[in-house]
Every structure is written in C-alpha cells, then in structure tokens.
Amino acid sequence: MSQKILVIDDHEVMRDLLQEELQESGYDVVTAESCFDGLNILKEQEFKLVILDIRMPGMDGIEALEKIINANRGLPVIIHSAFSHYKENYLTWSAADYIVKSGDLQPLKDSIAQHIR
C-alpha cells in the first residue's frame, strides 16, 4: 500500500500539480482546499504526511498547524508557502520542514522522502 499524503492549499492549480507529481512519485495524494476541510479529512483518514500552505482564506496554515499536530501526534507537516519570511516565525517551527513554493519540485520531494513516517 502506498503512503498517503494530504495537501492543503487553496489554489486549485497547485493542488493539481502536487497531486499529479506526487502520485507519479508513488504517493497516494488527497487534497483539501481549506484548513477546515483538511482537518475534517484528517479525522477520517490516516496520513503519513501533510503539505500545508500558510496564506489561505478562513483559517490560516499557522493556526491549522497547531490543530493538526495536537490531533495527530507525530504526523510530520511540511509547510509549503510562497512567502519565505514565515520561516523566521517560530510559530512555524513545529513543522518538520519549510519549503518555499517553486516550479522546481525536487526540494519538496526530497523533504517528503526525508520526513515521511
């Protein structure tokens, strides 16, 4: 059985890109367009890793990060954001990694391979 990854991002095209690319790399990918949806999906299914955007309408990724980790101890979360400066914000430091969005997906895939449980 392949490893399941949840992608939470409000941009549909980004969700599609990650889904296609990661599935091709052998992962089972589920996507959510908001943190609320993501948290609900996490309650029903078990995942090996979460990829989380920060700037999203409704609940933002920083708030969701605490909720995800509190509800799913040991689940690695990789922050995937277009902003680089949140890296300095210690509220993101509980995440397993912080990857700035780029057309080059290799760094993200390397991080997934490193952190997936």
């Binding site: 890109l17 700037r55 980790i69 969005k101």
Partner: protein, 583 residues
C-alpha cells in the same frame, strides 16, 4: 544686668528694639517690639534672629554677617529690611545695630524704626519675583551677556558723557551667582590719568549735542584706551564670600559708597587694592539693585578733571543706577526668551524631520507589504507554470519538436522566480547584516534583568556563575536570546517561591557550555516523553513551543542540548554551542 540699663526709655521713642548675643540669638525682647511685631517674649527669647526675616530671603542665614562684615564692633544705621510679623504679614522697617558691652558681656542692640506694612499682594509678588529670578538664573552671567556689550556701552557712555552724568570714567561689574563672583565686565574712559588721550578730551569737551549721537560716536571711535581700560576691569573678579571687601560690602548693603582712599587708614586691604587698580582715590560705588537684589555695581570717578562729586551728581547717579539695573535685567530676560524661542524652533525642525522620516519609513513599509503581497500572488501561479512545464518537459523525448521550447518555458519560469526574489530583497531593503556571534554574559544579563520583576516578586534567588572573559559564541544575538530565554523562563516557572536558580557558563574546549539549573519538582517520566513535543505544555499559559524552538535552534548552530532531572530535586538543562572564530 539688663534691667539696670535705661533701655526702658527706648520703648517710648522707638517702635521696637531687642538685644542679640554674639550668636545672634535674642536675649532681650522689648515691649515695643512685641507690640510692633506681635511676638511675645516667650515666642522669641533664645531664638535666632533669622526667624524674624521673611522665609523667601535666600541670604537669611548670613544676613547680619553680610551686613556687619567680619568686624563685630561696626554699627549699622538705618538699613532697610523686611521683617515677618507673628501674623505672617511682612513689614518694612529701618534697622540699626549697635554693639554694646554690659558687664563684660557683648551684645548687639537692634532698633527698628519707620515700620510700614507691605500688603499681602506685594509680598506675594515679591516672593514670586524672587522665585522667577532664581528659576531663570537672571543673576547668572551667561554667554549672551557678551552680546549685551552695546547695552553696557550705552550705560557707561551715559555715566560719562557731557550730556549724561558727566563723570570722567565708569566701570561696570556684574554678579555671577553661578560662579559666586562679582566680575568686572566693561569700562569707559582712560585706564589712568596719564593715559587720558586726545580723543577722550575731544569727546568730553566738544562732543555732539545729544546722548544718542555721543553713544554712536563713541562706538565708532573706540581707541586703544578702551581696550586697556576694558582689560583692566575684566581682570577684577571678587568672590562673593569675601564680605569684607569694599565692593562686596556695597553689594550686600545695597547702598552707594563715596569711596575715599586715605593711605595709612584703611579699614580693609581692599580699599588700597581698589585705589591701586583704578589708579584713583575718590570714586562713587553704586550698587545696581533690582527688586531688592544686587545685580552688580557701577563705579564712577573724575580722575582726570578731579572735579568734586556733588550731592546732585550722587542723586542723579542713584536714579540712573535704578534705570541701568532694570535695563540690564530686561535685556537678560529678552535674551533668555530669544534663546528659548530659538531652542524651540530647533526642536520643531527636528520634530518635523523625524516625522518626515517616520512617514518615509511607513511608506517604505507599506510599499514592502504591497510588494510582498504581490510576490505571493505571482510566485504561486509562477510555481505552477514552472511545475507543469517541467512535468511535460520530463515526459518529452528529446526528438520531439516541442522538447526545446518546453525547456525554455521551464528555465524562464525558474529565472522569473529568481528575479522575483531579488526585486523583493531590494524593495524590502535587505535586512541589515546581522552579526553571527554574540556575548553569552551580555545575553544572560539581559534576560535576567528582563525577568527581574518576576524573580523579585517570587523571592527567587538567582546565582549567576559566568566564567570571566568567555569567548564569543557562534550564534547571533537574537537566537542565543531565544534559546536561553526559553530555558531560563522554564526554570523560573518550575520553581516554588524562594527557590534557587543557578546559571553556569563556562568554556569547554571548542564550545561554550551553559547550564540552567532549578530546584523545582523535576520532570515526571510521563512528561519527559513529551518534552520536545510541540504544543505540549505543563503550564497554563505555555505555547508548548519553547523547547521545540530551543532544540531546533541548537541543532541549527551545530550545538547540543541535554537535560538531567530528578523528581523532587530539580532539573538542569545544558546547552553546548560552538565558539565563534573570526573568518
């Protein structure tokens, strides 16, 4: 004894009299004095004389000493004083003092005459004036006084010109309360009889018809004589404490003196000093008094013509001195005002500048925020273009006609990402190069002082043991602060009241080791498992990220984090961080 004296007669002719001993304590109080001033014998007997003076006088303590000089046998006749009645009303009176000896004991007999009541309002305003004078240092010579040269010239010309008081020479002295000195400031006339030159005579004899024309002419024709006489007067400075000095005495007595130097019969050495300095044996010393206080002195003489100083001259000079004092003080007030207005203007300009700067910074920040937002909006979609393009590109055979073009898209998207990053860096203004090292002792001291209030409130003893001259640590200030602040705060929060916190910092081979030890309850086995788990906290208000942050930062700087805990005994966290080596 006192009773034997025929003082009782005095009661009939004087509104008041009393006796002082040499310590100026009241030893005998007359009925007349009791009537006039309202104090009964028991109120004042053995009390110091100064209790009769108004409270606002700043020279109360030494009032009589200044008045009498150091010679206890000298008398004072009709000195105008203000006295405080028992009711608090201030009265003005003429005070006289006569030293007397009775049965080998020395006393001072004080009589008061011409007692007039000052109204309360007058007393109040005088009091206020006195405060203002002190507050604005109006008796202090300041830099601006040098710019008052023209005013002083006008005063001195008025004293000397044919259209004015017609004295041959005039010297101006001013009190400097700051330096506690009477200082010679400016003078007019020849420095000596012999040096009386042609210009001076011409000015005296055939001078222009009006005083203002004379002042104008004088300022144009300043000769070397003036430099000499000015140098002379400026060399004269007398300490205000030197109360036996003729000039200081005149200042305190606030009454003019007709100075006559009679060689061989000098009451004080200053008589000879003054006669020698000014090369003159007859002069008029006129105090410049403003609202009861002496601003300075004017000295005038007729050293050239040797004309006798007449009573009319003295009377005119007294009137002129009053005008001169108020001119000097008014100009000082104006110049102080000008100073403060200028200072105010400068402050305004500075304020405006910093406001503009702030505005500029705000604009920059807003601009930065906007660009940041834009970058985010662009970077996301750009990443998807690049990402999809690269997915297609990887699937194309190099022989495919689109292979090369797809490669261009992938490459261009990545280049654009880099352009975006550099635009952002420029727009936000590159963060100032942060120093990548820090001083352990400084950071620890900063933290303990920030936590000082809590430490005091909870009666915690902090024991700092920092090895002297620790080398710099290879972690930037703000990150070392973050690491140690979290550990020290945790330790303090674990402590009971009156607990002990021990911080030890020392050098170990290539590292600096910092240990933070508390005498708290220790960490239970269950909690220990979750120690580095994010959002796990045993505290009510904790974020549960403290140790997560510490661990992450310590790892980032290739350091080590360890802890040692014993239930009921306490916990020690130790951080080992590398020493900074200059590149």
């Amino acid at each position: 004894m006192i009773e034997n004296l025929h003082f009782s007669n005095l009661d009939q002719i004087l509104p008041g009299w009393f006796l002082l001993n040499l310590e100026h304590e009241i030893t005998h109080w007359s009925e007349a004095a009791a009537r006039t001033l309202g104090y009964k014998e028991e109120d004042v007997l053995n009390q110091h004389f100064i209790n009769l003076l108004p409270d606002y006088r700043d020279d109360r303590e030494n009032f009589l000493v200044h008045l009498q000089g150091s010679n206890p046998s000298s008398s004072i006749i009709h000195h105008q004083v203000k006295l405080k009645q028992k009711s608090g009303v201030i009265v003005e009176a003429l005070l006289s003092l006569y030293p007397i000896t009775q049965e080998e004991k020395k006393y001072k007999l004080i009589t008061i005459e011409k007692v007039t009541e000052i109204t309360e309002l007058l007393q109040y305003t005088n009091n206020k004036k006195s405060q203002i004078l002190d507050q604005y240092n109006l008796f202090q010579i300041c830099q601006n006084d040098l710019e008052m040269k023209d005013i002083f010239d006008a005063i001195l010309v008025s004293v000397t010109s044919g259209q004015g008081l017609k004295f041959n020479r005039a010297f101006l002295f001013l009190v400097d309360t700051h330096e506690k000195k009477l200082k010679g400031i400016q003078a007019i006339g020849p420095s000596s009889k012999e040096r009386a030159g042609e210009i001076y005579h011409r000015l005296q004899a055939e001078g222009p018809s009006t005083l203002s024309e004379m002042i104008r002419l004088f300022t144009q024709e300043k000769s070397s004589h003036q430099d000499q006489v000015n140098d002379l007067v400026r060399s004269m400075q007398i300490n205000l404490q030197d109360i036996n000095h003729i000039l200081i005495k005149t200042l305190y007595q606030r009454k003019y003196i007709e100075f006559k130097h009679e060689p061989g019969r000098e009451p004080h050495e200053s008589y000879k000093w003054l006669a020698d300095k000014l090369n003159s044996e007859n002069m008029l010393i006129m105090p410049l008094v403003w609202h009861g206080r002496s601003v300075g002195l004017l000295i005038a003489d007729n050293v050239i013509t040797e004309t006798k100083i007449s009573d009319q001259d003295i009377k005119s000079f007294i009137d002129f001195a009053e005008v001169a004092s108020s001119v000097i003080i008014s100009v000082r007030i104006l110049s102080r005002l000008e100073q403060s207005i200028t200072a105010g203007d400068e402050a305004n300009i500075k304020l405006k500048e910093s406001q503009n700067k702030l505005l500029e910074q705000e604009k920059l920040a807003a601009k930065g925020q906007l660009l940041n937002q834009m970058a985010h909006e662009v970077r996301g979609p750009l990443a998807t273009i690049g990402g999809f393009a690269s997915r297609i590109y990887k699937k194309l055979e190099p022989t495919n006609p689109h292979y090369k073009n797809m490669g261009h898209i992938v490459e261009t998207a990545l280049t654009l990402e880099k352009v975006l990053t550099s635009i952002l860096d420029q727009a936000l203004g590159k963060a100032p190069e942060k120093r990548n090292f820090s001083d352990t002792a400084k950071v620890i001291n900063k933290i303990t002082s920030l936590l000082g209030e809590e430490i005091t409130d909870r009666k915690i003893s902090v024991n700092l043991n920092i090895q002297g001259d620790l080398p710099l640590i290879a972690v930037p200030d703000h990150h070392l602060f973050e690491i140690l602040n979290n550990l020290i705060k945790n330790a303090i929060e674990a402590l009971e009241e009156e607990g002990l916190l021990l911080i030890v910092a020392k050098k170990t081979s290539d590292h600096i080791s910092i240990a933070i030890q508390d005498t708290g309850p220790g960490i239970s086995q269950a909690d220990e498992d979750k120690l580095y788990t994010p959002y796990f906290s045993t505290k009510n208000k904790g974020t549960g990220l403290g140790l997560v942050i510490v661990k992450k930062l310590v790892a980032e700087y290739s350091g080590e984090l360890q802890y040692n805990t014993r239930l009921g005994k306490g916990t020690t966290f130790s951080v080992h961080l590398p020493i900074y080596h200059q590149q």
